[in-house]
């Protein structure tokens, strides 16, 4: 029995493949619609859902009742299975819990404890989804791994490289989280939603009556069941016997004057105003976090603005490493409006970014991603 589906706003796709394609299915509407789209294009689809984290592991975070609408909650696995059943293609759950913890969760916690503000999704993409899952997809005979990311991949005929591009729907664009992918990873991947808006995706999902068509979007980190990072870090550190430094420490001004106390540096992120817990003439913001001295340095907003930063672990995606400084738009966090800057590639995988105008809260642990128009040239970690 096959389900017959008709789309009338089906995006045109240049390539026509007929081999097996694997779809990374989270149980959400985006990746489910990817499966429906590909099937409609005549592809033979196999669904793969990653089991990444045991939601029952830190029970103190669960609160009352079962975890819902989170990655790896059983509900999401059932949703993915229900979609596969509805569209009649094989679906499997693959267990990457061990790897996910080693490559994503543990570094996330360590970074927070070191006073940085990490992006777990970038690590997950580069080290789990487009590494282990992509390999699994190829091992089971799939030509490509398709995901529900809002971004585009284009082959540049002149350079022979795969370029990563922003999604057509800028409000949903996820290219910021994909800057760590290699050419090999890009050539094995497919982002069928890159040309669509979220509204179009929902409309498609409704049209083919996907059981998840009305499912709300999840905005939280998948392994933090309630969105409370601080609570998660405390619970995880306790379970793993990771020392939370000395816990309490000092809040100091730029000149080193002690003006308050805090309960652990993992409670803070650069630029944060809320939760400083004391009054002052002007609003104060977190300027920097010194995890060694267990200190949080605060100051006024204008001090937060900086023109220059050096990034490390740079990955060049859409071009080779440029030999000379060049201009680009740089995004320093997911919701940051890209700002014009000069980028100077340096040795040992680093680069110096000099913005035309000072940028607020350039935060260690986040990434600086370089754009030329819609094209992601590359990116690097803010140390």
């Amino acid at each position: 029995m096959t389900t017959s589906i008709q789309f009338d706003i089906l995006p045109e796709r240049a390539e026509t493949h007929h081999g097996l394609i694997a779809v990374a299915m989270s149980g959400g509407v985006d990746s489910s619609t990817v499966a429906a789209l590909l099937q409609q294009q005549g592809r033979t689809v196999v669904g793969l859902t990653m089991q990444l984290w045991n939601q029952r592991r830190l029970p103190e975070l669960l609160g009352d009742g079962p975890a819902q609408h989170r990655c790896c909650s059983l509900d999401d696995v059932y949703d993915a299975k229900a979609v596969a059943q509805h569209l009649n293609f094989p679906h499997y759950v693959v267990n990457f819990e061990e790897h996910f913890e080693a490559r994503v969760v543990r570094p996330f916690v360590d970074q927070y404890l070191a006073g940085r503000t990490p992006i777990a999704c970038t690590n997950c993409n580069a080290d789990v989804k487009f590494e282990l899952l992509l390999r699994m997809a190829r091992q089971i005979g799939a030509e490509l791994l398709a995901t529900g990311h809002y971004a585009r991949i284009r082959e540049n005929g002149d350079t022979g490289r795969r370029e990563l591009l922003r999604a057509r729907d800028e409000s949903k664009d996820q290219s910021y989280f994909l800057w760590g992918l290699s050419q090999e990873q890009l050539s094995g991947s497919d982002f069928p939603l890159g040309e669509l808006t979220k509204e179009e995706v929902r409309a498609l999902a409704r049209r083919v009556k996907l059981p998840v068509a009305e499912k709300p979007e999840s905005m939280e980190l998948c392994f933090v069941p309630n969105g409370n990072y601080v609570q998660f870090i405390q619970a995880y550190s306790q379970e793993r016997s990771i020392s939370l430094q000395n816990g309490r420490g000092e809040i100091v001004s730029e000149s080193g004057e002690v003006i308050g106390r805090h309960n652990g540096v993992h409670n803070f992120t650069i630029g944060q105003r809320k939760g400083l817990g004391f009054a002052a003439g002007k609003p104060l913001y977190v300027l920097s976090i010194d995890s060694e001295k267990n200190r949080v340095v605060v100051g006024e907003d204008d001090v937060l603005r900086k023109t220059e930063c050096e990034v490390e672990g740079v990955n060049w995606i859409s071009c080779e490493k440029p030999s000379a400084p060049f201009r680009a738009f740089v995004k320093i966090r997911h919701k940051h409006e890209p700002a014009p800057a000069m980028i100077e590639p340096m040795d040992a995988g680093s680069a110096r970014v000099t913005f035309d105008t000072p940028q607020r809260a350039i935060t260690p642990g986040q990434a600086a991603v370089f754009y030329h128009g819609d094209i992601v040239l590359g990116g690097g970690w803010i140390p």
Partner: protein, 410 residues
């Protein structure tokens, strides 16, 4: 697509003869076996006939058989039933046989002996009891998946009340020396339970020869439907009931009898008893052919637990350098169903506690696959497996960084 099923340790199809025997009991003969009228009497007769057939399969008396919802309930009933104080009338008290002295005299400080390779139904029941203060010894096994009798001897303490050791292991097929364990249990005056879910219908079972007091059976592993099982309880065994309700099955396991399923289990037991020897001969030949063929065709492959006595239908092979999970999916997409480890609630593969228990490093445990054959497995099925498995392993190894590293190291 041509699909070949080599996962009979997970479940078996209902035998057509079994289904035929069951069908009248859904609508035509629908009486409650506890009812007094003729409708009820017909169902009662069917249930008791089935009880005789199940008893015959394991050399027991019919009144020593209690029908349950399956292997898990039987295991739980045996373990919790022995540990709990026998405050209420027991199955066998009417018969006047005296319970083992052990239970009455030991009010406090109870101790259970089991093994690390048991099914979760036993392991998790024991772990639950540990939380309630019962002490549990988990016997290790050798590399072939068999417990050491010496270690069992040493584990017995004055407060030991139960030894629960499985008959055949689901993943390896390895068979434990139950006669010896039975003798040790009898000498120590300790109750002895065995989970025979994977052995019933595959190898001969005689409860007296094995010296077991309690024995669990599951219907769907021997061509009866899912949701039916049986627990053998030796006459004289003091076992506390787990469920309270009506007087069904002498009040010992209340709940209206699932007549059709019980009839199915009875029929399946009858067929198994008659065809066991012939099945074992045929199936073990196919199993050996599969095992030999794979060893020849897949470089560096090995058999896990090959030196122990095994059920005739099971072989477990390690293919170094592959992810068993990927191999399992690749094979399923080609039409071959087999198994690796155990599935968790989401359906993801978990590392096998059995394979790590017999000393396999985690990467080899993850690279292992179980093939379990059935009564209707054909030589064409084996040929199919011998065709697709080596090709799939080669394809996976080509894309495996682990295998590349291994190859370079050589």
């Amino acid at each position: 697509m041509n699909r070949v099923y080599l996962d009979f340790n997970a479940t078996t199809p209902v035998e057509p003869e079994v289904l035929d025997a069951m069908l009248p009991y859904f609508s035509a003969e629908f009486g409650n076996a506890a009812s007094i009228h003729t409708f009820g009497q017909k169902s009662r007769a069917a249930v008791e006939t089935a009880r005789e057939k199940v008893a015959a399969l394991i050399g027991a008396r019919p009144q020593e058989i209690v029908f349950t919802s399956g292997g898990t309930e039987s295991d739980n009933h045996a373990i919790f039933g022995i540990v709990a104080q026998p405050l209420l009338p027991t199955l066998s008290e009417a018969e006047g046989s005296s319970p083992k002295g052990a239970v009455r005299s030991r009010q406090i400080g109870r101790h259970i002996i089991t093994s690390v390779i048991e099914h979760e139904a036993v392991l998790n029941a024991c772990q639950a009891l540990e939380k309630e203060g019962i002490r549990v010894t988990y016997l290790r096994t050798d590399r072939e998946g068999q417990i050491e009798l010496e270690e069992l001897h040493r584990a017995i303490r004055p407060e030991t009340i139960l030894i629960t050791i499985m008959h055949a292991n689901n993943e390896l097929g390895s068979v434990q020396p139950l006669e010896e364990i039975g003798r040790i249990a009898a000498e120590a005056d300790v109750y002895f339970h065995t989970d025979a879910v994977q052995s019933a219908g595959k190898i001969p079972i005689n409860v007296d020869a094995l010296g077991v007091d309690l024995l669990s059976i599951s219907g769907h592993k021997l061509y009866a439907p899912k949701g039916i099982g049986a627990l053998y309880i030796r006459g004289g065994t003091r076992l506390r009931q787990l469920l309270y309700g009506g007087h069904h099955q002498r009040g010992f396991r209340p709940g209206t009898e699932n007549v059709a399923a019980i009839v199915g289990l009875g029929k399946a037991a009858e067929i198994a008893r008659k065809s066991l020897a012939e099945d074992a001969r045929r199936v073990s030949t196919f199993r050996d052919n599969l095992q030999q063929g794979l060893l020849q065709r897949v470089p560096q492959s090995r058999v896990n637990g090959a030196a122990a006595p095994r059920t005739p239908n099971t072989t477990n092979l390690v293919f170094p350098g592959v992810e068993g999970e990927a191999l399992l999916i690749a094979l399923d997409l080609k039409g071959l169903a087999c198994s690796t480890g155990a599935a968790c609630s989401s359906g993801a593969v978990q590392p096998s506690h059995v394979l790590t228990a017999i000393g396999l490093p985690p990467e080899e445990a993850r690279a292992s696959l179980r093939f379990s054959l059935g009564r209707h497995t054909t030589s064409a099925d084996i040929d199919f497996a011998l065709n697709v498995v080596p090709a799939a392993v080669a394809q996976l190894r080509e894309l495996s960084p682990t295998y590349r590293k291994m190859a370079e190291a050589r």
